[in-house]
């Protein structure tokens, strides 16, 4: 067995052995056992490096395949890895541009401001003007964040992927869900990783996001300096601010935490319901608060897409949450591909209603609702479409982020006016009126003549 395979096998054996002990050798309840295994799996992924961290991040957005315990545990993956030596980073930059770093940037700081599994970020100043996709060009002297792919990362990941493929062939029997195979998942992971290892993809997504929110003064997305961006180097405007872990300092500086939490929740609804593209990988490291009371979004690795038709049904699901209406939630969900067998519908609606009463009645707790809802669908054997699962999980994450900003916030309540306006706009289109008008007139006449 090659040494890397031995290392992987030994880490999982040790971690899962500990999970077995923590869960009383499997004698404790299902949830406790799944939580223990989820926690140790996350720690194993962190220990095993870039490919596994990325694999874990991808698994964390697939509640349609993995248990909700594993999905939410993997959302907490710490993607903070020791930085590569500055000399190696400098070599990557010089190799990408075939020019000395001093001709590209001034004051490139050898100490990185952030270091994750596949890339690290250094602060610098642009040496010359750089064109941008939208808005005025970034002028020479602008402070920028230079995100550089770590040397050797591609080779390390490719090696681990080859091992994973072999493992997947041996574990072909593992099928957490009908029609799902480990080999297909590894293939999908490889494709998504390919996009993530190309920095230009992230730059394009950031540009699109900035364009979508061009009229929103409170949302800030760093501008990409395309003249200093290649496959392995992404140069973006450097934004000053506080991470969510440094909010005490932000509050002392007078930042309106409630306003930002409220705006952040509404901005998410706007991404989903208006633009049909949303940041599906929000976590404390991916956004911060700026001194001029804005929310700055970073790192656009995972983006969820929804079609115009889906947007309408999602708005109805959200309205169902507001009014705690399980029938309406299931009706709109079925339009989004959540197929509940007719013989189970009443029982599921009853359980969903009870879950809504427990988690969405007085103090709304979207996290517990989201986790409970996904588990409930799993318990009833209802298949969860990929996009639907990702959306529920993202909504839970948005609540987490909003509560990090302002613990008492109720994101359903704060986004209610926005969602209602979208619903009214959607329902009052001429085509919808023509579609529903005759039925409405019949109902009104029936009422009058009764």
């Amino acid at each position: 067995m090659p040494s890397r395979s031995r290392e992987i096998a030994s880490v999982f054996a040790r971690r899962w052995g500990r999970a077995s002990v923590d869960s009383g050798l499997g004698l404790r309840g299902g949830t406790r056992r799944r939580e223990a295994f989820a926690r140790e799996t996350r720690l194993a992924f962190e220990e095993l490096g870039p490919a596994f961290i990325k694999l874990g991040q991808m698994m964390s957005v697939r509640p349609d395949v993995f248990s909700s315990e594993l999905v939410f545990e993997l959302s907490a993956l710490q993607d903070s890895v020791a930085p590569a030596p500055f000399e190696a980073i400098r070599e990557v930059i010089e190799d990408e541009f075939a020019r000395p770093v001093d001709e590209l940037f001034d004051d490139l700081d050898p100490v990185p401001v952030a270091s994750a599994s596949v890339a690290q970020v250094h602060r610098a100043r642009l040496r010359a003007d750089s064109p941008v996709a939208w808005g005025p060009a970034l002028a020479a002297g602008t402070v920028v964040a230079v995100k550089v792919l770590k040397p050797g990362v591609r080779a390390a990941i490719t090696g681990d992927l080859e091992l994973s493929r072999r493992l997947a062939r041996r574990l072909a029997i593992v099928r957490p869900r009908e029609g799902w195979t480990l080999a297909a998942f590894i293939e999908e992971f490889e494709r998504s990783l390919g996009r993530e290892l190309d920095m230009r993809e992230e730059g394009r997504t950031a540009d699109r996001f900035a364009f979508d929110f061009r009229d929103d003064e409170q949302v800030r997305v760093p501008t990409v300096a395309w003249g200093r961006t290649t496959r392995r180097v992404l140069t973006m405007e450097y934004l000053e601010g506080w991470r969510l872990s440094e909010l005490d300092e932000a509050r002392r500086a007078g930042v309106d935490a409630y306003g930002l939490a409220e705006h952040g929740a509404t901005a998410f609804m706007r991404q989903v319901l208006v633009h049909g593209r949303y940041h599906a990988d929000l976590h404390p490291a991916n956004l911060f608060v700026t001194p001029d009371d804005r929310i700055a979004y970073l790192d656009f690795g995972i983006v969820g897409i929804v079609t115009p038709d889906e947007r309408r049904h999602i708005a109805h699901v959200l309205a169902a949450l507001v009014f705690r209406d399980p029938d309406r939630a299931l009706r709109a969900s079925s339009e989004l591909g959540v197929e509940v067998p007719p013989e189970q519908r009443d029982a599921l609606a009853r359980d969903l209603g009870a879950l809504m009463d427990r988690t969405l009645a007085d103090e709304r707790d979207v996290r517990h609702f989201g986790k409970g809802f996904l588990s409930l669908l799993g318990d009833y054997g209802v298949e969860i479409p990929v996009g639907y699962g990702l959306l529920v999980k993202s909504l839970v994450t948005v609540e987490g982020v909003a509560r990090a900003l302002y613990p008492g916030i109720d994101i359903i309540e704060t986004s209610r006016p926005f969602v209602t306006r979208i619903l009214v706009e959607q329902e009052l289109t001429m085509s919808r009126l023509l579609e529903r008008g005759p039925a409405a007139v019949r109902a009104a006449l029936g009422e009058l003549l009764a």
Partner: protein, 118 residues
């Protein structure tokens, strides 16, 4: 006969006056409850809708008094949005070309072994 005609016209005027007052009151109520209040019941929905229609009427009035063409008001908005979208897509393409040019220049520099400036 004249009295009857006057009475008929008076009734007609009264109906209009009452409808006008009713409409104004509905607009007022709709404005107070806002769009979010529209879901609380059929009456609230009608009030909200009346307020939305009134807002649109005011926009049209402004467009007409400023010499604009009624039909072009909403079309103009759509055109402006489409134009911005196209501008963005062109900017996006320019960004792609810029990064490709950078890579091409880097390859050319490596091949020629010059390593010169821009």
């Amino acid at each position: 006969m004249t009295d009857d005609l006057i009475r008929l016209l008076a009734s007609w005027q009264l109906v209009h006056e009452m409808a006008d007052e009713g409409l104004k009151a509905a607009v007022e109520r709709g404005r107070e409850t806002g769009v979010e209040g529209m879901r609380s019941g059929p009456d609230a929905f009608v009030d909200g809708l009346t307020a939305l229609v009134d807002e649109e009427k005011e926009r049209l009035k402004t467009a007409l008094t400023s010499g604009g063409d009624v039909a072009s008001v909403s079309e103009g908005l759509v055109d402006a949005e489409a134009l911005e979208e196209i501008r963005f897509e062109i900017g996006e393409l320019k960004g792609r070309m810029e990064t490709l040019q950078t890579t091409l220049d880097a390859i050319a520099r490596k091949l020629s072994g010059s390593g010169g400036g821009e």
